[in-house]
Symmetry: D2
Subunit: 163 residues, 4 copies
């Protein structure tokens, strides 16, 4: 299946945000580079490592918006992943640069979902797309409503949309 | 969303196969135990490690059927994952035993898909379900038809179905 | 530097222990097989994964002796590693079987050290040797004397020495 | 054992190099932050992940000096680790910033050794020290003399020493 085209343009020269010219969607982006540790004997990045990259993207977005995930946990909540998916389009090799694009896409009463789009840092080639859906738990491990910090992160991101 | 019940029964006392009494589906199963290395600071297994468990299950199934994945690669093919998904139902903690159930579910001309169901090794609780879909590549990295070893693995597994 | 020869012989047919005929030392041994996830683009196991194998060996030894590390932690102690070292002699490749040999070698008032020797599961070739030294902490994170379970593990292992 | 004090001062405001005021030694430094994936159930970074951080430091140093390790491999050499060691002084927790200090310390005919010192990115606390020793292999896997790129990396680093 041919993936949807992804055509990101920086919001402004120093911005950490891009707008996808295909859809008008706003994405946070952060930079990373593959490690030798990430590759496997077929010379490409082993698939599970993309979940580390997704975590990097999610953490960078939340920090940028002013609510690092560490503070969410310190305030008494934890957000385990309840489902995830990844579709791979082209591999990353050793020492490849990448842009990790992250975007909060769905807010439910007790859950929040992030989408990810990773592109090659030089060629712009689409590497993979995916999502993680997280469920809010309180300190006793009970399902609970999404916490105020995460709601503010959500609102800040949405209000930043310029098109 | 409530997961479908999974009710595995061993085909015979020493068997590595179970039949799910809910669906009649046959699954290979293999045993594993979580490591300290697999856990994260919320005390449960970090989500990406379930992809290692899926690999363990897939490798054990292929070895059992007589076609270890190493031999598939030695014969000139490689099977990168083109998409995957996991749904998490209950966490595994440190040192927990688990059964990894694996089942080849779809054979396309150039792709093959495995389903996985992990259960707690003592309580039988459903831990997670998921799939990985793999695309056949030849030595030059071109998409190619599924190789003879994998076809035989597929056929052996299907012929083993007893109900 | 040429490594010391290692010449393990099973204590008895079903035993989980070997005696090194070179030194008379007793070692616990456990079996493992490398994963695709463990390899890197040079086709061999990435070096940090040997620390996972060491953890597997340590856990298997403690379980065998009757004091799983999980129970040590449940009784209020934690044993972070204070120093470690590995010397590599020959690589493991994908799907290689291995024997992980583990041996408690030094008991200090607040510390305990394990040695490890990994050999290829078929050829017997020496893969690597190493150690981890652990310091006992109590629930408040203070350095404390080695706990009773670990002392018993230590004594059980020593009393098992047959030569 | 009390570690040697480490007292790094930047060579200049924008520099990627520090000088340890205790010893006069020059070190390259790079920044990183711990991931949730890096932690374990005792809330600190699992020990094997420090080897990833060492790889990050080594890669950043080689890139900075103008000889990325990828180019070394492309020129026909590979540098597997023959021995390594780590001493841990204080733990890193989730989301902690760190400075990874890296320094090539020994050049043998067929081997090269790097030292590492990781400090907490805010407090400056000493986290761990360690080394990796690498052996040069050619394309056929034979031990060979250290390659010209690595020699230049070595010389560039040494010539940069200002005290």
């Amino acid at each position: 299946m041919r993936p949807k085209p992804f055509n990101p343009e920086l919001e402004s020269p120093e911005s950490e945000y891009v707008v996808d010219l295909e859809t008008g969607e706003r994405w946070h982006r952060s930079f990373n580079r593959t490690l030798y540790a990430d590759t496997d004997r077929s010379s490409v990045v082993y698939h599970s490592n993309y979940l580390r990259y997704f975590e990097m993207g999610r953490a960078a977005l939340m920090r940028e918006v002013g609510f690092p995930y560490r503070e969410v946990e310190e305030s008494g909540f934890v957000y385990p992943i309840v489902d995830l998916a990844i579709a791979f389009h082209s591999p990353l090799f050793y020492d490849d640069p990448m842009w990790i694009h992250t975007r909060p896409v769905e807010l439910e009463r007790v859950k929040v979902t992030f989408n990810y789009t990773i592109t090659h840092g030089e060629t712009g080639a689409l590497v993979c797309t995916g999502h993680t859906r997280h469920c809010a738990l309180n300190r006793s491990g009970k399902v609970t409503a999404v916490d105020p910090h995460t709601l503010e992160m959500w609102n800040s991101f949405q209000q930043g949309i310029t098109r």
